[in-house]
């Protein structure tokens, strides 16, 4: 853990933890079964309840308490979404009603084009994620495999640039997009291509660091073997390296997708027409306009909007571990 790159926290540690936790699942279970000499109590046929409680029982109490805290708002919003025509007040009667009408209403109101928001978010998120992965992987490959003047400088610059996040430059980006829009209306303010280009401006940086670290773990003997077999750098990169580093590509892609999908500040500044906005901007405007009146419709929108990121997140845990254990090294 100690060689964690400072700029690459989230996914890196996620990789470690999840891997560790899954190891523990396979290794720790037998060790509890055999009792394994921890102060000898495993040999006893049965612990007294008092003892059990002092050693592990209270942990379950803590766990249940935390689990309730963690899951309650999610259950609340799910329940609210099943209560059609509901307001904030009626949402308080949890699970008193099971009806999917709000979900239908969501797509039938011209004042909040939810379907358009959803598709916009998907399209912007996916293109940005793909672009981020491609641009980041290209850069990471050159930093990891090539030695050139300015390499160290480039890597440090990427870290330093990250200290001025794009959010801080929102004003400048807005003015820049206005200027671009004057000349190229298709790329400037109020266009999704423009927003994607802005997001890709942040494609290098943390992501490159994350991938760079992972690229370094792929032995360069693989490249050299391929080179001897007559493969050029492009072939090595696209057909060998990219496959070996697939887990980190997936992680970066996912983080970028989730980050883009919930980004509010730049999206709200650049996208003006309601039909062009993303879920974050649209749902915020929707809630702030008519807060308590259409709570169940918002709830339905929130549930739908959250399903994909949550599912991806949970599914990817397994994928990462799979990628790690299948291993790239022969």
């Amino acid at each position: 853990m100690s060689d964690l790159k400072p700029g690459a926290p989230a996914a890196r540690s996620l990789l470690d933890t999840v891997a560790a936790a899954d190891d523990e699942l396979t290794t720790a279970t037998p060790s509890t079964a055999t009792g394994g000499g921890v102060r000898g109590e495993g040999k006893l046929p049965r612990r007294t309840f008092k003892r059990y409680f002092r050693e592990t029982g209270w942990r379950h109490l803590v766990g249940i308490g935390v689990a309730i805290f963690a899951i309650f708002p999610l259950l609340y919003i799910f329940s609210a979404s099943l209560n059609p025509g509901g307001t904030l007040l009626t949402a308080n009667a949890l699970f008193s009603n099971f009806n999917f009408e709000s979900y239908a209403d969501l797509f039938n109101s011209p004042r909040h084009p939810y379907g358009a928001w959803f598709i916009n978010t998907l399209v912007i998120g996916l293109i940005t994620a793909a672009g981020t992965v491609i641009l980041g992987a290209l850069a990471a490959y050159s930093f990891s495999r090539m030695r050139f003047t300015g390499r160290r400088f480039g890597l440090t610059t990427l870290l330093v640039v990250q200290m001025f996040p794009q959010m801080l430059a929102a004003v400048a980006i807005f003015l820049l997009m206005v200027a671009i829009g004057d000349i190229f209306p298709a790329l400037g303010l109020n266009t999704q291509i423009g927003l994607i280009m802005v997001y890709l401006g942040g494609a290098l940086g943390v992501n490159t660091y994350l991938m760079y670290g992972f690229f370094n773990t792929v032995p360069s003997s693989i490249d050299e073997a391929a080179k001897i077999d007559g493969a050029g750098h492009a072939r090595i990169f696209f057909t060998i390296i990219l496959r070996l580093v697939a887990p980190i590509l997936a992680v970066v892609g996912l983080l970028s997708f989730i980050g883009t999908a919930s980004e509010f500040m730049l999206a709200s500044v650049i996208l003006i027409d309601p039909e062009k906005q993303t879920l974050a901007v649209g749902l915020y405007k929707f809630v702030s306009d008519e807060f308590s009146k259409n709570w169940s419709i918002f709830a339905a929108g929130a549930v739908l909007a959250a399903i994909l990121p949550v599912a991806l997140f949970l599914a990817l845990q397994r994928y990462i571990v799979g990628g790690l254990t299948a291993g790239s090294v022969k």
Binding site: A67, M146, L200, S292
Partner: protein, 540 residues
């Protein structure tokens, strides 16, 4: 990561390849590439070049020579890189770097530039266009002025006035294009009805474009004081002159009705002797004015400092609370005897996986004072102002951020704890250390080494945690006495956003100055903190 990194030290650059090695590499390169790769390369670059060429043409047409030059240079450079042999790193780096330069480095630099101007509502263009806009907005029809026979003509989507003077001269002009004589117009009974190269608009087209035509104002000559022609109906034009008169030599605006003289005294707008400004003004360089305003102007300084303090308190407490909770849970669940940890873990990760902006909105609903779940159900109909009382709003924000952030810290701490070898603990226990001592003196320092960079990153993230603040409380409750639009729970970044984009007035200059201040603060703190964690690492 447990896998070793295989980075070579930078100082030991690889030895210069020999001539033979280079030739071998070239042959291998050529043999592996093949015509498909080359074809792909040509097509991809061809598309990019075509787009760049189009961009350059459009830019040249709108007189943006500098930008056109930059686009040309970048495209030429990219072509040279991709078609030459070698320059391998550049081939891989260029695509990302172009975006990085335009939308991050240039944007950062431009933020710095804007911070030194008075850019904002009322000051958003050049002096020339401000003068034009002023004169346009003050236009009035000249009493008893002659009527000009008018035909509206169109070329490439741009409308022009084809005007027949009362004395028979035919002239043509458009928006910002003063009237010029035309000699080959098609005449119809003393009225010009068409001119070669232009389409004459039919009545139906005029009706369809009525608003645009009514808004047109065609200067009679180069001198803005001569006035302009406008048409109410598309068939007759009248002369309008501005009640403002611009005196180019003295650089003053005179209101012909009141006689007040407005002069340019360097504030970016024409100003009367009594201090009233004519808006729109124009953009000027104001030096450190915006920064000085942030620190000295009373109506901005007070809210600025309270926002600054709260930003630090919020970021620090958020990291601290989340870390404490995450560490506690990691220790609780890091016991091999405990079963079904996996289920707890999945449930606890959920807040982290749930999109942040939705969480904030959901919590805002639950914390609603009148109808929210917390007041109505949990507190049995109490009327607790969770989001509208200054201190409770701050508490609520910390609580929601704890909900959002503890799973991440839990994951990190679990990982870090499991990475600490058990032997250390066993050795300490053999030496007679208590469980607490083991934790305090062995595990905690080791843990800190691993997670300190993440804590700093988390601090920097929370320092700019715009979504949470803006979606949960909107920065409110509003501080009504402040000269800028801020509330009790606003942090610096949400203040930047509100100053620039919320409300009827925008002050881009001031907002950019705040951005620069935030950058300096976060940058300084991060650098210091990273230095200290390095020291920590060496210590252990």
């Amino acid at each position: 990561m447990t896998t070793p990194t295989i980075e070579e030290p930078d100082t030991a650059e690889a030895p210069r390849p020999t001539k033979r090695a280079r030739r071998a590499a070239r042959i291998a390169e050529a043999a592996s590439g093949g015509w498909k790769v080359l074809l792909f390369k040509v097509i991809a670059l061809g598309i990019i070049d075509a787009m760049a060429l189009y961009a350059i043409l459009v830019l040249v047409q709108s007189d943006q020579w500098v930008i056109a030059g930059v686009v040309l240079a970048v495209t030429a450079f990219a072509n040279w890189i991709y078609f030459s042999r070698g320059h391998l790193p550049a081939k891989y780096l260029i695509p990302g770097l172009i975006f990085l330069f335009v939308f991050q480095i240039f944007a950062a630099g431009y933020t710095g530039y804007v911070a030194f101007t008075n850019y904002g509502t009322g000051h958003n263009s050049t002096k020339e266009s401000a003068i034009n806009a002023l004169m346009l907005s003050a236009q009035e029809r000249v009493p008893d002025s002659p009527a000009y026979e008018l035909t509206i003509v169109e070329q490439l989507g741009e409308l022009s006035f084809l005007v027949t003077d009362p004395d028979g001269d035919v002239r043509l002009g458009g928006e910002e294009r003063p009237l010029e004589p035309v000699d080959n117009a098609e005449m119809d009974g003393g009225k010009a009805v068409g001119v070669p190269g232009y389409n004459t608009l039919s009545f139906a087209q005029i009706v369809a474009d009525q608003q645009r035509i009514a808004d047109m104002s065609v200067p009679i000559s180069d001198d803005p004081n001569d006035g302009a022609l406008r048409t109410p109906d598309g068939s007759v034009a009248y002369a309008y002159v501005s009640k403002l008169v611009y005196d180019e030599a003295a650089d003053t605006m005179t209101d012909t009705r009141t006689g007040v003289v407005y002069s340019d005294n360097g504030t970016g707008a024409f100003t009367a002797p009594d201090g009233t400004e004519l808006l729109p003004g124009w953009q000027i360089f104001v030096g450190f004015d915006n920064f000085t305003r942030a620190f000295t102007e009373e109506s901005i300084r007070a809210p600025f400092f309270s926002v600054l303090t709260w930003t630090f308190v919020f970021a620090f407490l958020s990291v601290f609370l989340c870390f404490a909770a995450g560490l506690f849970l990691a220790i609780v669940f890091n016991d091999p005897r405990m079963k079904s940890k996996r289920y707890y873990r999945v449930i606890m990760i959920l807040p982290y996986a749930f999109p942040g902006f939705l969480s904030a909105l959901v919590w805002a609903g639950m914390m609603n004072q009148e109808f929210g779940f917390i007041n109505v159900v949990l507190f049995g109909g109490a009327d607790i102002p969770w989001l509208t009382n200054e201190w409770l709003a701050k508490f609520s924000i910390l609580l929601v951020n704890l909900w959002l952030g503890f799973p991440y810290m839990f994951l990190i701490c679990t990982g870090a704890l499991q990475a600490i070898p058990d032997e250390l603990q066993e050795a300490a226990r053999v030496d007679g250390a208590s469980a607490w001592q083991v934790f305090r003196n062995i595990k905690l320092p080791l843990l800190f080494v691993a997670v300190a960079p993440l804590l700093i990153a988390s601090f920097a993230y929370n320092f700019n945690n715009f979504v949470l603040i803006y979606m949960l409380t909107g920065g409110g409750p509003r501080d009504v006495s402040a000269g800028v639009n801020v509330g009790a729970t606003d942090i610096l970044i949400s203040m930047v956003y509100k100053v620039a984009f919320v409300g009827s007035t925008a002050d881009y200059g001031l907002a950019s100055a705040f951005s620069i201040i935030i950058f300096l603060l976060v940058g300084t703190i991060s650098v210091i903190a990273f230095r200290r964690t390095k020291a920590l690492e060496e210590l252990v």
